[in-house]
Subunit: 284 residues, 2 copies
C-alpha cells in the first residue's frame, strides 16, 4: 500500500470519527480535515503494513495520534502561546472561531482521541489499554515539552536543553505513532519494538531540527505558516544555537542513523526506509 | 467509611498520582492539591462502598474524575473564557503561573487522568476500558457544555437551552463519577446502573442550579471565588431566567427526586442519601 492510500484512508476515517453536529463539531472538523501532512498516521499504517497487520486494526490508533497532533497545534497557535495566525495555509482556529472556542476545540479533540481507541471493538481490550497507556503518556509529555518551550523564550540555552525539550514536544508523539503501529501488529516481536523505539527517537529529533531549519529557509506559501516565526519570537532553535550548516548536517545524520537502526527488524523495512527518505526531502 | 476518610484518601492518592518533578509539576500540584470539595471522588467512593467493593479499586477512577474537574476549572478561569482571578480562595492558575502554563497545566491534567486509569493494574483491562469510555465521553461533553456556555453570554435563552448546557457542562462529569463507582463494583447490577444514571442526572442538574443560586447569595470569602460573577459577565443562569425563588424550589425538587430515584437499588442507599442531603445544605 502506498502513502497516497494511507492519506485517503486516514482522511476518511477522521471524517467518520469526528462529530457532524453539536457544539464544537465545526471547529473540530475545520482544524482536522483536509489539512496537514498526516505524517504520524502514515507512520502507524506503515508499521502495521510491514508486519502484515490488517489496516483496519490501525485506524483508531492512526487517527487518535493525528487528533492529538491537531489539538496541540490549536493550543500552540493561541495568543498566549506562540500567537500564530496562520496554520495549514488558512486562519488558525482561534482566528476563525475565537479564542475560547479554540481552547475548547483542542480540549475536545484530546478527549476524543482516547475515546476512539477505547471504543475500537476490533482490538482486544488488553491491546487497547496498552495503546492508551502509550498515547496518554505521549500527550502528557508533549504538554511538558511545550511548557519548556514557552519557558525558554528569549533565553540562552545549550543544545542538551533543546534536545530534551524536542524529545518531549515532538519526539514523544512521533515515537508513539510508531509504537502504536507496533503494539497493534501481532507479528511484531518485543525485539522489533525496541528497534522501532530507537528509530522513532532518532526520526523525532531529525524531524524537529529539520522543522527549525525549514522555518528559516522556506517561504510562507510553501510552509503553510509564517516563515521565521521562531526567530521573530526570540525562540532558541537548533540553527540559533548550532548555526544553519551544522543543524542541517545534524538532522541528516539523525535520519541516516534512523535508517541504519531498522536494519535488524524481523521484517523487510523498505517501506519505512522509503518513508524516512521522503521525510528527509520534505520542504514543509 | 465516612466522607472524611474519603477526603483524606483522595488527597493522598492525588498526591501519589501527580508528578513531583519536571515541567508543569508545580502548577499541576498547585491546582489540584489541598483545595476543592472533592464531591465527585466522594460520589465514586460512596457508590463503591455501598456495593462493598474494595476502595483501592475506586482510587484511580475517583482521582481521574477529580483531575478532569481540576483541568476544566483551570481552562474555565482563563482570560479568554470566564476570566476569573480567584479559585479555591487563592489566585487562579493563570494568575499564579501565567496563561500559557495554565493552558498546558489543564492539557496535562486531562492526559494524566486517562493515564492513571489505563495504568491501574488492580482493575481488569475490560473494566478499565469501560471506565475510560465513560470518562473520555464525559470530558468531551464537558468541553461541549462550556462551548455552549461561552456562546450564549449576553443572550436571552429559554430554560431548555440552560438545562441541556448544564447537563453537558456539569452533569456529564458528575454522572460519570457515579457510573465509574458502579462499573468498578462487581456487585452492582445492570439495573442498579440504570437507577444510578437517573440519580446522577438529577443530582447534576440540582448541583448546577444550586451553584447559580449560591453565586448570587454567598460572599466571596465563603464561596472561594467571586460572588455574582455570572451576573457581571451577563451570563444567563437559572435565577436570571426563572427568578431566585423558583430556582431554589427547582433545585430542591431535583435533590428530592434524586433521593427518591435510588429507593429501588439492590443495596441499602443510606450513605448516598446522606451525601445528597449534605450537598443540598452546602453553602459553597
Amino acid at each position: 500500500m502506498t502513502n497516497k492510500n494511507y492519506l485517503e484512508r486516514v482522511e476518511n476515517k477522521l471524517d467518520e470519527f469526528l462529530p457532524n453536529s453539536g457544539a464544537l463539531a465545526d471547529s473540530m472538523r475545520y482544524s482536522v480535515l483536509d489539512c496537514g501532512k498526516r505524517f504520524r498516521p502514515t507512520l502507524t499504517y506503515t508499521i502495521a503494513d510491514m508486519f502484515e497487520e490488517r489496516l483496519e486494526h490501525a485506524d483508531s490508533s492512526a487517527c487518535a495520534v493525528e487528533l492529538i497532533h491537531a489539538y496541540s497545534l490549536i493550543h500552540d497557535d493561541l495568543p498566549a502561546m506562540d500567537d500564530d495566525d496562520i496554520r495549514h495555509s488558512k486562519p488558525a482556529c482561534h482566528i476563525r472561531f475565537g479564542e475560547s472556542q479554540a481552547i475548547l476545540t483542542g480540549d475536545a479533540l484530546q478527549a476524543l482521541s482516547f475515546e476512539i481507541i477505547a471504543n475500537d471493538n476490533n482490538i482486544d481490550p488488553n491491546i487497547r489499554i496498552k495503546c492508551i497507556q502509550q498515547l496518554t503518556h505521549a500527550s502528557f509529555e508533549m504538554a511538558q515539552g511545550q511548557s519548556i518551550d514557552m519557558a525558554i523564550v528569549s533565553s540562552s540555552v545549550d543544545i542538551s536543553v533543546l534536545e530534551s525539550m524536542h524529545l518531549k514536544k515532538t519526539g514523544a508523539l512521533l515515537s508513539c505513532a510508531v509504537k502504536l503501529g507496533a503494539i497493534i501488529s501481532k507479528k511484531c516481536s518485543p525485539k522489533d519494538i525496541l528497534i522501532l523505539e530507537e528509530y522513532s527517537k532518532l526520526v523525532g529529533l531529525a524531524y524537529q531540527i529539520q522543522d527549525d531549519v525549514l522555518d528559516m529557509l522556506v517561504p510562507d506559501n510553501v510552509l503553510g505558516k509564517r516563515q521565521n516565526s521562531d526567530q521573530k519570537k526570540n525562540k532558541p532553535t537548533y540553527p540559533s544555537v548550532l548555526g544553519l550548516d551544522k543543524s542541517q548536517s545534524t538532522y541528516k545524520r539523525f535520519y541516516e542513523n534512523s535508517i541504519k537502526s531498522i536494519e535488524k527488524l524481523s521484517v523487510n523495512a523498505n517501506q519505512l526506509i522509503e518513508l524516512t527518505n521522503q521525510l528527509q526531502s520534505r520542504r514543509f
